[in-house]
Amino acid sequence: MPSMIDVIIVGSGPAGVSAAFPLVEAGLKVLMLDVGEKGVLIPKGLNLSDVRQKSNDQWRFFLGKNFSALDDKKPSSPKCRAPNNEFVFEGFHERYAVETENFNAVGSLASGGLSNAWGAGVSCFDDNDLKDFPISTQDIQASYKSVAERMSISGEADDMADFHGDFYSLLPPLKLETNADLLLKRYKRRPKVANSRGIVFGRTRHAVKSTGNAQNGACQSCGLCLWGCAYGSIYSAQHDLDRLKRFDNFTYQDETYVERFVKTGNTIKVNARSTLDDRPLSFHAAKLVMAAGTLASAKIVLTSLGMTNHEIRVLSTPIVAFAISMPERVGRTVNSDFFSMGQLSFRVDDASAKEGYAFGSIMPAGSILSNEYIKHVPLSYPLSRSLIRFLQPSMLLANCFLSSDYGNHYMQVTKSGEVKIRGTYRSNIGSVIAELRSKLVATFALYGIAVLPGGFQVTMPGEDIHYAGTLPMKDYPGAAELYKSGELAGVEGVYVVDGAALSTLPPKSHTFTIMANANRIAAQLVVDHIEGKAIS
C-alpha cells in the first residue's frame, strides 16, 4: 500500500475511472477500492447466426450451465439474464441488503461496474437538460471532450446531432441493420412527416470502436453484444482500469467492500471489509471520492452520516418498449449479425415532461431469441412461435425513456443497515404513454411501418437501470446533498462523482454525463490540491 494516499476512490465503474484519470495524470497518489468481481469474455470469432445454427453447446451460452437465464427474479431485459453477464449483477442485493417494493434495483460489484453490460449509448446534456443543475454546459464541455477522447465514440452528424451534442470528434458510424437502414432511409426521404409531429430520428452515438480490425478492438458485427463483447469494442470501464493500472501512483485494491467513512481531523478514514474473509480493513486519505454507483454510494453516505430512516429521492426514467414491423421484410431471413444494441434513436416531444421530450432507442430484433417474444404474444404457444418466426425478420425493437419526473421513488437505510427502495409513478403516466403511443403509431404508419400490438406497457419503476440523483448537486445543498464541486455538504473532503450526483435525470442516456461530471469534479480537485500545496 502506498504510504501517503492523496485520494481514495470507491468503485471502478465509469465514474470511478473518469475521476481517476485527472488525479493520476496530475501525479496524485490514488487508491481505488473495489469489490472487483470478474467475468470471462466470450471467445472471439463467433457470430450469432453461426452459434445458433451450428453450435451444440449454444445452450451453455444462452441458458447458462446452471440455467441462470431462467431466473425470474432478474430484470426482464435479456441483457441482465445473459449467463455471461452474471458476474456484473451478482451479489449486489445481498451485499447491500437491498429490499425493494415496486422497484427494480440493480447494481454491480464487478470491476468496471455496470459498464460491463451497458447499452453504450452516448449523449450530452444540453442547457435544457442542465437547467436544474448548479452547473452549465460551459462548466462541463471540456470534460465531455476529454472523456470522449478516451472512449472512442462512433456516430454521424445527422438530425439527432444537436440532441446528442456536436462538439466532440466521431468515428464513422457502425453498420446499420437491414430494418434499421430501411427505417432511416424512409425518414431521410421525408423527414417532415416525423418532424411535424415532434419526432426526430437519427443514429445513436455509440461508445463503440467502429474502425480498424479485430486485433485493435474494432466491432466485428458478430451480433453477440448482449452476451458481452469479445473484442472489447464496446467501451467498458475495465479498459480504462487497465490503463490506470500502468501508472505508478495508482493502486487498485479489489476484494474490498467499503462500509462507511469517518472524518477525523483533516483525514478521512474509510472502513471496509475484505470480501475474502470478512476481515475489517481501514484506509486513510485526505480526500475520498465516492463512485460506487447511485444506490451504493447513497447507502455508504447515509450510513456514514448516521442518517438512518431518512428518505431520499431516487430518480429513474420510466421505460416502455414496443416492436415495429417493416411489412416488406415479413417472412424473409433473419439478419442477426450486427451491433445489436440501440442502432437508431429518436426524440419525441412530450409537452407534460419537465424536459419537454422523451427519448427512444431502436434496436435489431434478430439478436434476441424468439422465446423472449413468444412470452408476450397473447396467442397459444405453437401459434405464437410460428407467428414470431414469420414476423421476426421484419421487426425492430424500440424502447422509450420518459422524464424521471413521472416517478416518485424513495430509498432509505434502516437502523439495521438494510436499504429499502419503494417506487411509484405519478398518476398521469398512463395518459402520457397513451399520447406518445398514438403519436408514434401514426408516424410509423405514415412511413409504412406497423407498430405491433402489445407494446407500450408501463414497466416496473427502475427497469431502465438509469438511476440517479440520490445525493444531488445543489446551489445550496442540505444534508446528504452536494455542492457544485461534488463535495458532500458538511463533510469536507468527501466527493460524490457517480449518478448519485446528478441534480435531475433527463430521459436521454446519462452515462456519458456521469463520466464527464466525474472528470470535471476530479479536475477541480486537482486544481484545489495544487493551490493548497502552494499555500502551505
Binding site: 449454444q58 431462467l70 431466473d71 397473447p378 397459444s380 418466426r389
Partner: protein, 445 residues
C-alpha cells in the same frame, strides 16, 4: 430415522424372502441394522452377512436363533388364498410371540392386512383378524398396510398387477369400482422401523397407506403407463359379469385365471384412516408416480413431462437429451416439481393445447396456470437453444418462407374455433357454473 443410540440393533424377520420381506431386509441392512432371516428355503436366500434359518410354520422356531434379537417382524404368511389354514398361521404367530420376553412384547410386529375384519368376506381376512386379536391381547403390535407396491416385483399382488398392466390389451374398470390405498414398499419399511424405534407414543395398531384412496383401475392404468409405457384401453366391466365369468372358468380343469375370492376381497376393502398412524410415525408416503418411477424426485416422470412440453412448444419431435436439459432447469428453479399433466397430454402432446394458458379450452386455476406458463417459457428457451430446433424459431433460410407462411395461416385457421370455444368457456367459468381445473392427479399424492 434410526440413529446410532437407538435401542433396536438386531431384528428377526420372518418371510424374509417374500416381496415385502426382501425389501425390508435390504432396507434394514442399508441402515446398519443386523437381520436374522427366517425363510422357508435358506438356499434361495443368499445375502452376505445375513444369518438365515429354515423356518416353517409347522415347526416351532428354535430359541437360539433369537439371541440378541431386539425385535421380531412377522411377515410370513401362507400366500395362497383358498387353502388358508387359519389355525396353523395362528399357532405359528403365537410361538413367535412367546419367544420375546414379557417386557419386550411390543417389539413384535405382526404385519396383517387391510382386509382384516371379524366378518370379512374372505377367510384370509377373518384369519388375519383372529391373529390380530391374539397379538394385541399379548401386547404385540399390529400393522395393516394398504396395497404395497414398488421396488422389484417378485411375487405378491403387486407382481400380478404388473403383469396385468403389462400384458392385458384392455384394462378392466370394475363397476362398482374398488378403491385401494397404495403404499410404497420403502415407505412401509420406514414405518415398520419407526414403530420399532419408538416413534411417538406407542399404539398397538398402525394403518400404513396413502391417506387418500384411488380407483383400482386408475392404479392399474398408472402402472401401465409409468412402468411399461402402455396406454391400454379401459373396458368398463361390471363386477357381477367378472365373478360369473370366473366361476364358469373355475369349473373347467384349467389353472385358475381369475380368483373370484380375491375380487370379493378387493371389493370389500374399507377405506382405512391412516392419517394418525402416519403422523405418529412421521412417514409421508410418496406419490404413486414417484413410487413407480423408482427414481429420486421422479426424474422419469419429469422427463416425460419435459418431452411433452418441448414437443408441444417446438412443434417437432424432440431429441431425448433435450428433456434432460429441461429437467435440469426444473431442478434448478422449481425444485423438480412436476406440473402433473394428465396421461393423455403426455402421450399426445398436441393435446396440451387444451390447457394452453392463452385461450385454454380447460381453464386452469391461477397457481397451475402460472406454473404452466413458467414451464412452457422454459421449454421454449431450452428448445430454441439447440441446433436441432432453432430453425423452428427463426428463419435462417429464405427457402422456408412459404412453408412458414402456410404454417402461420394453417395454425391461425385452426386456432379460430378454439379461441371462440375458449372465450365461451371462460365466460361460463366467470359465471361460476364450472370451476377451473387444478393440475393434480388424484392418484399421485
Amino acid at each position: 430415522m434410526l440413529d446410532a443410540n437407538s435401542t433396536v440393533k438386531k431384528i428377526a424377520v420372518t418371510g424374509a424372502n417374500g416381496y415385502v420381506g426382501r425389501h425390508f431386509v435390504d432396507f434394514l441392512l442399508f441402515r446398519g441394522i443386523s437381520v436374522v432371516a427366517l425363510v422357508r428355503d435358506p438356499k434361495q436366500f443368499q445375502i452376505q452377512g445375513v444369518e438365515s434359518h429354515l423356518y416353517s410354520m409347522e415347526v416351532a422356531p428354535h430359541t437360539d436363533w433369537f439371541k440378541e434379537v431386539d425385535a421380531i417382524v412377522h411377515l410370513a404368511a401362507i400366500a395362497s388364498n383358498t387353502c388358508v389354514d387359519g389355525q396353523l398361521e395362528y399357532n405359528a404367530c403365537r410361538q413367535l410371540l412367546d419367544i420375546l420376553p414379557f417386557d419386550k412384547k411390543n417389539n413384535f410386529l405382526f404385519v396383517s392386512s387391510q382386509s382384516a375384519a371379524e366378518f370379512a368376506p374372505t377367510k384370509y381376512g377373518r384369519t388375519k383378524w383372529n391373529i390380530e386379536q391374539m397379538v394385541s391381547s399379548q401386547g404385540g403390535v399390529i400393522v395393516r398396510p394398504g396395497l404395497v407396491y414398488g421396488g422389484h416385483n417378485y411375487g405378491a399382488l403387486f407382481a400380478l398387477l404388473c403383469s396385468l398392466a403389462k400384458g392385458l390389451p384392455v384394462l378392466p374398470a370394475l363397476i362398482p369400482s374398488p378403491r385401494v390405498q397404495p403404499i410404497h414398499i420403502d415407505d412401509l419399511s420406514l414405518a415398520l422401523l419407526n414403530i420399532l424405534s419408538g416413534f411417538g407414543h406407542r399404539s398397538n395398531i398402525y394403518n400404513i397407506a396413502s391417506s387418500t384412496s384411488l380407483r383400482f383401475s386408475d392404479f392399474l392404468k398408472t402402472i401401465a403407463w409409468y412402468r411399461y409405457r402402455r396406454l391400454p384401453f379401459i373396458l368398463i366391466t361390471p363386477v357381477f359379469l367378472l365373478s360369473f365369468f370366473s366361476r364358469i372358468v373355475n369349473l373347467l380343469p384349467f389353472p385358475k385365471l381369475v380368483d373370484s375370492e380375491r375380487i370379493d376381497g378387493l371389493l370389500a376393502l374399507k377405506e382405512m384412516d391412516t392419517f394418525d398412524s402416519l403422523a405418529l410415525l412421521d412417514v409421508q408416503p410418496r406419490g404413486l408416480v414417484d413410487g413407480l418411477c423408482n427414481k429420486p424426485n421422479s426424474r422419469r416422470a419429469l422427463l416425460e413431462e419435459g418431452l411433452a412440453l418441448l414437443s408441444y412448444v417446438s412443434g417437432k419431435k424432440v431429441p431425448p437429451f433435450l428433456a434432460r436439459r429441461y429437467v435440469g432447469a426444473i431442478a434448478k428453479w422449481k425444485s423438480s416439481r412436476r406440473l402433473r399433466l394428465p396421461f393423455l397430454l403426455l402421450r399426445f402432446p398436441f393435446l396440451i393445447r387444451m390447457v394452453d394458458p392463452r385461450f385454454p379450452i380447460l381453464p386452469l386455476d391461477q397457481e397451475s396456470r402460472s406454473r404452466l406458463v413458467w414451464c412452457l417459457d422454459a421449454a421454449n428457451f431450452v428448445a430454441e437453444s439447440t441446433v436441432e430446433l432453432s430453425g423452428q424459431y427463426t428463419l435462417f433460410k429464405a427457402s422456408s418462407a412459404i412453408r412458414a407462411l402456410t404454417d402461420v395461416v394453417f395454425k391461425s385457421l385452426k386456432e379460430l374455433p378454439l379461441i371462440l370455444i375458449s372465450m365461451s368457456v371462460s365466460l361460463i367459468v366467470k359465471c361460476g357454473f364450472i370451476s377451473p381445473v387444478v393440475l393434480k392427479n388424484a392418484f399421485d399424492d
